[in-house]
């Protein structure tokens, strides 16, 4: 299955992976091989098969609605490169979406 350079760049962007221009051809070849492997699945007849969203035939266990976690802010903030007034600091974001 052939991928265009544009598609490749979009996929990289969505995954936030920076790809150098010179590595595009080899990356493209690898991705195309993977897609070809997946393509083999199309050969299987699935008309009688129900969609499956999990391989385990179990139902999701639940927990009671109780607060069980304590405040670990000081410890968790230690992992961050930059903090202020109890907030994680990140590069400026504008116009939130989602």
């Amino acid at each position: 299955m052939a991928l265009s350079d544009q598609e490749l760049k979009e996929i990289a962007y969505l995954a936030r992976i920076s790809v150098k221009e010179e590595s595009l051809p080899s990356l493209k070849k690898e991705l195309e091989d993977i897609l070809d492997l997946f393509k083999q699945l199309d050969e299987a007849n699935t008309t009688e098969v129900n969609a499956m969203s999990h391989p385990l035939d179990l139902s999701q266990p639940t927990r009671k609605d109780e607060v069980t976690e304590e405040d670990l802010r000081d410890e968790l903030l230690k992992n961050a490169p930059s903090v202020k007034s109890g907030l994680f600091l990140v590069p400026k974001v504008i116009d939130g979406e989602n």
């Binding site: 969203s53 999990h54 139902s59 609605d65 802010r73 907030l87 994680f88 990140v90």
Partner: protein, 481 residues
Amino acid sequence: MKNYSEDWEAVIGLEIHVQLSTKSKLFSGASTDFGALPNTQACNIDLAMPGVLPVLNEEVLKMAVKLGKALNAEINSPTSFARKNYFYPDSPKGYQISQMDKPIVENGYLDIETENGGKRIGITRAHLEEDAGKSLHDDFEGQSGIDLNRAGTPLLEIVSEPEINTPKEAVAYLKSIHSIIRYLEISDGNMAEGSMRCDANVSVRKIGEEKLGTRTETKNVNSFRFVEKAIQYEIERQIHEIESGNKITQETRLYDSQVNTTRPMRSKEFANDYRYFPEPDLLPVNLEKEFIEEVLATMPEMPTEKKERFVSEFSLSQYDADLLAADKDIAEFFEEVTKISNSPKLSANWIMGELSAELNNENLNIKESKVSSNKLGQLISRIEDGTISGKIAKDIFEKIWTTGKEVDDIIKEEGLEQVTDDKEIELMIDEVIENNPQQLEQYRSGKDRLFGFFVGQVMKASQGKANPKQVNDILKSKLEK
């Protein structure tokens, strides 16, 4: 901008995010309390630390089942979760756990009241998902601050069919959803605090046209009034664009309530592609029949049922019943007042009149009322049994509001009992007639309007305490002599 002409119609669909009032988060045991110090309610799971796994909160399933029932919808079992992938600093995992193929609630409807009568709005689905954290854009030396307390708070996103045609219908629909979630006690529905948020998908087309126009999505609308104004603005903007020969771009816009406009959000180089896939960390959820039945057994009386009962049990008008039943707290207050006053109609009038005026004045909700349901009930029963007049009752109401005193104490202390003794009233009337010979003569020579003058004088002489009906009757017979 000019008013849009009658050749156009708008097609509106709403996406309403409802924050569920659970104690803990959707997939973690961190607290969901509003207003805590930043990041003090964000645990390892909310922060997506390596090796953690989500564990589903049982309460959200109950809440979703109740909502599904209230929206006349199907409950999917099994229902399953999916990953919605995107990168944003307030979402530490790099994805949001949401639902795609099997949302917990699907195919429902809601009947709303519009200016042109009842209308049924289809509900496509309602699905569970995690809320994101908050980005604070104050100046942190050119950086943004991230508070993850809200990350992982459970949301139900309710998606309507594009079957709403006017801004007013959109508000009626939104208010109806608000009323339902408050009745079900699954959310406080506080729009100012963001517990209920609304995005509006709006497009326009010429009336008679089958094909839908290009739609925009307007975000950031956080009050009933703004929903109406934002949609109105967006409809007029789109019609204006098309009539000027321009095309509508499919885009996300932000509503700015300060200047009442919508503006496009910064568009990106590539379109977002959320690459949904089944959430591998969570199994599909089977909702056992017994579980659903147990939950449904706890369903409270819903606004429409309550409204109908108010009409049949208390003989209230549709209009009064609708107003009282729309808000759960007001409806409960009304029933408490009526229990004591034994007069549903008077109770309704007082709650929607005097009481609601005072509450508005001081910006209080009915639970914060300075006149309790108990006292208002007693006050009305004193009007009903003839102890005081309606006019005096208003003064007493003011006094209870400011002093919190008991109704009967105020009546006794200030001698406000209504004068119902015929003899006493007669004496007052005689005096008024004697003091106004000129008016008496004019009245007897045919100036009927002066009757009101005499009533006024007698009421004044009695300091408002004479029983108005008796005053009328006795006065009439005296003047006719």
